[in-house]
């Protein structure tokens, strides 16, 4: 029992390297959340449109992402698109593209839900006082909808952060990959390295996601009444 193996975490630059890997993951998540939210707001506005065709297309877009697992989408864009178009795509770029498109679909649904949950008289009163289409959205609907969609949006963000762990499967050097490298390097000296390294990564993800999901729950409870 002289060597518990936990020392593997404190040797050399292990922790620093893992955190660097986490930064790659966090960067992908952050970019995708921003792009996904922006696209998603547009998507949500489109989904409240009266046109049946637009509604159908948007719905189809959402269902396509809901039915097929995200990892499959990563594979399609990572393996399929480059071989079809004869171009090279980095894993990071593929991840941002897929997560943004997925985020847009889910965010669109959240925005739509929020807009549709607003009482009808809000729209009618807005129109009655002569607001234009944009004025109606800008001053009446969006400020109220933001409140209703924020908990869902934060929840979606935690889901996206968790899903970024999959990027290791398409060759991105993220926190999991660096963890594997550290384990491989020290496997002879410290056989229990994988327990400690994966344990640490587990905790790192928890530290990021837990406050977010707590915040979302808090906002939900606060704005419910």
């Amino acid at each position: 029992m002289q060597n518990l193996g936990v020392n593997v975490l404190f040797e050399g630059t292990t922790i620093q390297r893992l955190l660097e890997g986490l930064l790659v993951t966090a960067g992908i998540a952050f970019l995708s959340i921003i792009i996904g939210s922006l696209l998603g707001i547009g998507m949500g506005l489109l989904r409240t449109s009266q046109s049946k065709t637009i509604q159908f297309i948007c719905r189809l877009y959402l269902e396509v992402f809901r039915i097929i697992p995200i990892l499959v989408w990563l594979f399609i864009v990572y393996f399929g698109v480059p071989s079809a178009l004869d171009i090279h795509l980095d894993g990071e770029i593929v991840a941002v593209i897929v997560f943004s498109l997925w985020g847009a679909a889910e965010m669109g649904d959240i925005v739509r839900g929020a807009l549709e949950s607003l009482p009808k008289h809000q729209i009618e009163s807005g129109k009655a006082i002569g607001l234009s289409f944009w004025g109606l959205y800008r001053y009446v609907l969006i400020p109220q909808a933001v409140r209703r969609m924020l908990p869902g949006a934060i929840n979606l963000s935690t889901r996206m952060v968790k899903t970024t762990s999959l990027v290791v499967m398409i060759g991105v050097i993220d926190v999991v990959k660096i963890g594997q490298q550290i384990i491989e390097r020290s496997v002879i000296k410290v056989p229990t390295a994988s327990f400690w390294v994966y344990g640490l990564i587990f905790i790192l993800y928890f530290i990021i996601c837990y406050p977010l999901s707590k915040l979302s729950k808090k906002l939900e409870a606060k704005w419910e009444n």
Partner: protein, 221 residues
């Protein structure tokens, strides 16, 4: 783009086998999750000391970490401490660990939705706690919570795509292998997508049918 049908036909048995593994994993993952969820939500309902806190910790840990890391920790981490298990067992445990917390949340919100008058009426006609749960709370909770149970079930079937990372020959793993071996990228991906559609679409129809079936217990609507 020309589709190489010959290749598709020759790879079909591989995919068939993989699809069955995916279905098997999804099924057992869902079943175990349901059991865990039921037990945990009953613990929460009765506010059993200590266990209640443990359930809360479990739910937060499981919901706020990715399945991939949970699996790696189970499969690579715990084996080093002397706990060994087969890939399949490990995958099912991982899925159940993840799904259990989602099911717990679903059941909990369903149980909370059962109105107080129902519980009090049940008690006043002399039902025991077990009978109360069996005949009054669960049927109504099921009706309320069925949509989220269905969503969780589909979620778990989709999450099986991740367990390929620990060397189980399910659909993702087979696809990765086939792409690496034969370079038939387009055909492999096409079969992958079709396989998932063939699993998830019937499942979602089945679940929405089930959803309509359990509506009868919904009280007062």
């Amino acid at each position: 783009m020309d589709i190489n049908w010959q290749f598709i036909i020759s790879a079909l048995p591989l995919y068939q086998k993989a699809a069955w593994i995916t279905i098997k994993l999804g099924f057992w993952g869902t079943m175990l999750s349901l059991i865990i969820g039921l037990v945990c939500s009953i613990i929460i309902y009765f506010r059993i000391k200590v266990l209640k806190e443990l359930v809360a910790i479990y739910v937060e840990l499981s919901r706020n970490t990715p399945l991939l890391i949970q699996l790696f920790f189970l499969y690579f981490g715990l084996t080093k401490l002397g706990i060994t298990m087969s890939e399949t067992t490990c995958a099912i445990i991982g899925l159940a660990f993840l799904g259990g917390s989602y099911m717990t949340e679903a059941f909990r919100s369903g149980i909370e939705a059962v109105s107080k008058t129902q519980i009090e009426s049940g008690l006043s006609i002399g039902l025991s706690q077990i009978q109360l749960i069996r005949y009054v709370i669960l049927p109504q909770a099921f009706a309320v919570t069925m949509p989220s149970l269905a969503a969780n079930c589909i979620f778990l079937f989709k999450e099986t795509s991740i367990v390929g990372a620990i060397a189980i020959a399910e659909l993702m793993h087979v696809t990765q292998d086939v792409i690496g071996m034969y370079y038939q990228t387009f055909e492999s991906l096409l079969m992958l997508v079709v396989a998932y559609l063939m699993i998830i679409l019937p499942l979602s129809f089945l679940l929405s049918w089930l959803e309509r079936k359990v509506r009868y217990a919904e009280f007062g609507s």
